[in-house]
């Protein structure tokens, strides 16, 4: 016993260091696996207040870029207005029923905090349960996709950013008539995302638009992900490695839209039923 105490006292510094290390590595693992951190849940008021202060300052430096992005988005939306289109062929009749049900509604939020320098990047936004935000809602930036809500508190929500190793989305390339594969981030460049699962027989070329697929449950179809930048042909594989230039500039994120899928609960129920084997 005396020996043990002497050993403990001799190595006290190392043991204290070990305990601190275990605590902090536990925090990292907890944050990476369960995507919730001690700070975000308990002491969010102080740290979110600090982040708010920071974004209040840095937002001014981004004004020009944010305005350009919003103007570009307005242009895109104006182009897609119904009054701009004209029926080409008398055979094709576009049925627009005013009695139709709205599938997606949108909420706006300000970005309180975001990171781009980590491997697992998150975005904190200033809307929460009180504003109708729920888990698994899609988040869009004015120019493209931004992430998925993974945790909500009464007034804030934590968003899994596109530039996070755990993010996945289903893309489509309309120009090549391709609707398969997945996009995910390899952790290197926060402006580039990787498109996997495109077979070598697909006729794709750099510059093609990559959009969210209509098979995606969370994201509305046709939201820009980015443009194909580089197509790498790795030897011994029947798939391309494709680099896609993200349309969202994550360094300049300040306003986002949260997508409320009106029927997401029905899809969830269906998925759960199949999983349970009923």
């Amino acid at each position: 016993m005396v020996f043990l105490i002497r050993l403990l006292r001799k190595n006290l510094f190392f043991i204290v260091y070990l305990i601190l290390m275990i605590f902090s590595i536990g925090q990292v693992v907890r944050f990476n696996i369960y995507q919730q951190s001690y700070y975000f849940n308990t002491s969010s008021s102080f740290f979110n207040g600090m982040s708010r202060l920071k974004t209040n300052i840095t937002d001014y430096f981004k004004l020009a870029e944010v305005n350009t992005a919003l103007a570009e988005e307005n242009r895109r939306l104006r182009e897609s207005l119904n009054q701009n289109t004209m029926l080409k062929d008398s055979q094709q009749v576009l049925v627009k029923d005013s009695m139709g049900k709205k599938k997606y509604t949108y909420l706006t939020a300000n970005v309180v905090q975001f990171t781009t320098h980590l491997q697992n990047n998150f975005i904190t936004i200033d809307k929460g349960i009180n504003n109708g935000i729920r888990k698994d809602m899609a988040v869009l930036s004015p120019s493209g996709i931004a992430g998925i809500v993974i945790d909500v508190s009464p007034d804030y929500a934590l968003v899994l950013s596109v530039i996070n190793g755990q993010f996945k989305a289903t893309p489509m390339i309309p120009a090549a008539n391709f609707r398969d594969g997945s996009v995910s981030w390899n952790g290197k460049d926060p402006t580039i995302i990787q498109l996997n699962g495109v077979s070598r027989f697909e006729k794709i070329s750099p510059g093609m638009d990559v959009l969210t697929s209509n098979y995606s449950v969370k994201f509305p179809p046709g939201i820009p992900i980015g443009k194909i930048q580089k197509i790498n042909k790795s030897t011994g594989s029947s798939f391309y490695d494709i680099d896609v230039k993200l349309s969202t500039d994550f360094h300049k994120l300040s306003h986002v839209y949260i997508v409320n899928h009106q029927e997401s609960s029905q899809i969830d129920t269906l998925n759960r039923r199949t999983k349970n084997g009923n």
Partner: protein, 170 residues
């Protein structure tokens, strides 16, 4: 002693906010992610208890983690940095002799600049290596982690020198 400790606390806060408000906002590139806030751990005097060093580094890391929402990355890396500084100071430097010469911490004036740069770069590299290993958290990216750590260490060192030039530290 107490006044000194307060001064160091203030310095640490300034460096952490400098990191949070400015350095984190600048996009240096994919390979360069400098963290000059660790300067204050290197500036703590030799005469301080090693536990003050360890806990000081750990809690400042935890504070920055809370600000950056990064789990415990900075806390783990800073604690390791403080731990390795204590080990290196005890095993490789004659701290009593250095203190007798009138230095409270290691500066370029002691011996020469190359010695100082080696000391700081080595400790910075340890911090960055722990940080990026936990951040990437996969063995397959070992060489990526190594490259990022080396480049970032050099970047951090240069920023530290710049910071020391701008803010005259006693």
């Amino acid at each position: 002693m107490a006044i000194d400790l307060l001064r160091y606390l203030f310095g640490a806060l300034v460096l952490i906010f400098f990191q949070f408000f400015l350095i984190q906002e600048i996009n240096f590139g994919t390979w360069l992610k400098p963290m000059p806030y660790i300067l204050f751990i290197l500036l703590l005097p030799f005469s301080y208890n090693r536990f003050i060093l360890l806990f000081g580094a750990f809690f400042s890391g935890l504070f920055l983690d809370g600000l950056c929402n990064s789990g415990g990355l900075h806390a783990a890396a800073s604690a390791t940095l403080a731990f390795s500084r204590v080990i290196i100071d005890n095993k490789m430097l004659d701290t009593d002799a250095i203190q007798l010469q009138g230095f409270t911490y290691l500066t370029p004036d002691y011996k020469n600049f190359r010695f100082y740069a080696l000391y700081v770069l080595f400790l910075t590299f340890i911090h960055h290596w722990v940080y990026f290993t936990l951040d990437y958290s996969s063995l397959s990216s070992f060489f990526t982690v190594l490259t990022v750590s080396i480049f970032s260490s050099i970047g951090t060192f240069l920023l530290m020198l710049l910071y020391k030039l701008i803010v005259k530290i006693r």
